[in-house]
């Protein structure tokens, strides 16, 4: 089977300007590669500022990549123009974190959902019935048709955003922290809806979150990001059972477990330092100043390559690679 999306060596650098001159670069995404298969969810985790959102937006060409190749359904996304770009814009969608700013407050739910449908020239026989069906598939109903966004709760707004995406019948959706602004009970609801829609329509998701529990629940495979780079990639089950990269181990040990018994038994690892700035990231392995296992003379000098340690489980760390 062909992947829906293939990302190779993706880079996005933002200029840091001072007095009209570029004085440095923020290496927000710095050489990221992964694939997503049809019907698969690829989770992307990491702490604030590690480059998750930039990865998602660059893939969709909402911002232009600095370097790298993005292949969507066999076509090179960076080369798309005109009608082909429009085709891509329809089949690859994004859902944002903030349920308040992502919907036009002056439009009714009906118009919000129909606007992109018209824009893409998708024919529908009975628009009203079409929108009602969509609303029903995300747990809303025809009562909501002519209401405005401010009349809905955060969770309901995320459902409207979801219905709007569904209307275009995409193959791939970037979900950028779709539930972080919501309460847990509402979050569970949205996550279950996303899973059900995937089962029904075969969507592929790039699921971005800093909540490891949520990522585990949603993802088939996942990647752990640190300062613009993927440090570990593999099946979600494997990474949670047997995290190999010291950063992944630190992250898993830091995450609070909602079970006092498991929390007491949990392997604890001292959490050192704070994530450094992506403007002047540390040399060699970016994680070395915080890593308890860092080897002086190697980790602080040379960047470790991403190597396959067990089947389909990749790690970028000198503990697993030959220097």
């Amino acid at each position: 089977m062909e992947p829906v999306l293939k990302v190779e060596g993706l880079k996005k650098y933002f200029p840091v300007r001072s007095l009209m001159r570029t004085v440095a670069w923020v290496k927000a995404v710095d050489g990221v590669s992964f694939e997503i298969m049809p019907g698969e969810t690829f989770g992307l985790v990491g702490e604030s500022g590690c480059g998750k959102t930039t990865t998602g937006r660059t893939i969709l060409r909402l911002i232009e990549p600095t370097e790298g190749k993005i292949t969507f359904k066999g076509r090179d996304v960076t080369q798309l123009k005109g009608k082909d770009l429009l085709w891509f814009r329809r089949h690859a969608q994004i859902m944002f974190q903030d349920p308040y700013s992502s919907l036009d407050p002056r439009q009714t739910v009906f118009n919000i959902i129909m606007e992109p449908v018209k824009f893409h020239g998708i024919e529908v026989d009975d628009p009203e019935e079409f929108v009602i069906k969509l609303l029903e598939s995300v747990g809303l109903n025809e009562m909501h048709l002519y209401r405005y966004p401010h009349e809905f709760s955060g969770g309901q707004r995320q459902r409207i955003a979801l219905a709007k995406i569904l209307a275009l019948q995409p193959d791939f959706v970037v979900l950028d922290e779709p539930t972080s602004a919501l309460d847990v009970s509402v979050q569970a609801n949205i996550l279950n809806t996303l899973k059900e829609l995937q089962r029904k329509h075969g969507f592929s998701y790039l699921f971005i979150s800093h909540d490891l529990g949520v990522v585990k629940y949603m993802s088939h495979r996942m990647g752990v990001m640190y300062l613009g780079k993927l440090v570990e990639v593999g099946p979600a089950e494997k990474i949670f059972e047997n995290p190999l990269h010291p950063y992944t181990q630190m992250l898993l040990s830091a995450i609070p477990i909602p079970d006092p018994e498991l929390a007491r038994q949990k392997k604890r690892m001292e959490v050192k330092g704070e994530p450094p700035s992506p403007i002047n990231p540390p040399e060699g392995c970016h994680f070395h100043p915080r890593c308890p296992l860092a080897k002086a003379g190697l980790c602080d000098k040379k960047e470790p390559p991403l190597v396959e340690v067990e089947k389909d489980h990749y790690v970028a760390c000198w503990l697993y690679a030959k220097a």
């Binding site: 309460d183 009970s185 279950n192 800093h210 609070p256 909602p258 079970d259 006092p260 498991l262």
Partner: protein, 326 residues
């Protein structure tokens, strides 16, 4: 027998808004035991912050404490109802014997003053130091205590020169500056990354041990509760619905809301078959549902639940629940 440091009794706080009277919390009662970490949990708007602020009358207009008592037991054995104190009297206690740490370091720190000045000022206000100069000098020790590297120089920094995690450490520093007996931490780690959160929670635990203080920890993160608290108070729509030890709450939840809440949280180390969601939405507190406020969303609701407000009952030692099923 655990001995209480604070007893909250029948506390009600209303907000008088144009849209109507928001009954933010109603008839809230629970004890905080000396030396424990007690977690107050529940979803957005359930009244956690209002409850914790009302303890020292920190409720501003249009809000009003309409009923209740907050009995504070001093170290010397004397007691006082904090709600009966004058503004002057409560100000002597707030920031001193009872101190707060708020979620957002931006709003707790003044951008115009150095962090040393702000810690020093907190001490000066309560007469712990003779003047601000002595306060700033002592602030160096406090910064060291909250594990800020290079405190001699950091003391001269302005808030914007510090990372989010560092700022929150400073806020904690201000909180513990006067050696409080009760530290009220309102979502102290919600704005932080998980690794920084782990460090801050560890720090709070250590300071608590060192000062032999009591902590009221407000959070909506059940993971944080399980890892840091000994006891838990669960709130829903302005009411306390369940109280128990962490093991009672997590392994033997009684209230249908607590049960549902626990099933909605994905556990990254546990097996997750299917998350359960709670149908419906949180009620508005201007016209809250009659009887049990959870009844419109409760799978076990019956006639009685729609009419009668369930009272907190002790089901096993230390485990209280407000539900007609028990």
């Amino acid at each position: 027998m655990p001995e209480p440091i604070v007893e909250i009794k029948n506390l009600s706080v209303y907000f008088y808004t144009y849209a109507g009277v928001v009954k933010a919390i109603e008839d809230v009662s629970f004890d905080i035991y000396r030396g424990e970490t007690l977690a107050l949990v529940g979803e957005t708007g359930c009244g956690k912050s209002v409850t914790s602020r009302a303890i020292t009358k920190l409720i501003e207009s249009p809000g009003k404490i309409v009923n209740g008592q907050v009995i504070y037991h001093r170290d010397d054995g004397s007691t006082v109802d904090l709600l009966k104190l004058s503004d002057e009297g409560i100000r002597e206690i707030r920031g001193n014997e009872i101190a707060y740490i708020f979620q957002d370091p931006h709003s707790s720190l003044d951008p115009l003053y150095t962090v040393g000045y702000q810690i020093g000022e907190a001490m000066e206000v309560h007469g712990k130091v003779r003047n601000i100069k002595e306060g700033i000098a002592k602030a160096v020790n406090i910064l060291r205590e909250v594990l800020i590297p290079d405190p001699e120089n950091r003391v001269k920094n302005y808030p914007h020169e510090l990372s989010g995690g560092m700022k929150q450490r400073v806020v904690i520093g201000i909180g513990v500056a006067n050696n409080p007996r009760l530290l009220i931490a309102d979502e102290p780690t919600t704005a932080l990354d998980v690794t920084v959160q782990a460090q801050i929670l560890e720090l709070l635990n250590e300071l608590k041990r060192k000062y032999n203080a009591t902590v009221l920890l407000i959070t909506h993160n059940l993971g944080v509760v399980a890892e840091t608290a000994q006891r838990v108070v669960v709130m829903y729509a302005g009411k306390v619905v369940e109280i128990g030890t962490v093991d009672q709450i997590f392994h033997n939840p009684l209230h249908p809301y607590t049960t549902a809440l626990l099933r909605a949280v994905p556990n990254p180390l546990g097996k997750i078959e299917k998350l359960e969601s709670i149908p419906g939405t949180v009620p508005n507190l201007i016209t809250p549902p009659k009887g049990c406020r959870f009844h419109p969303r409760c799978p076990f609701a019956e006639e009685r639940c729609r009419k009668e407000v369930p009272k907190l009952k002790e089901i096993e030692p230390g485990h209280f629940v407000a539900c007609h099923r028990y």
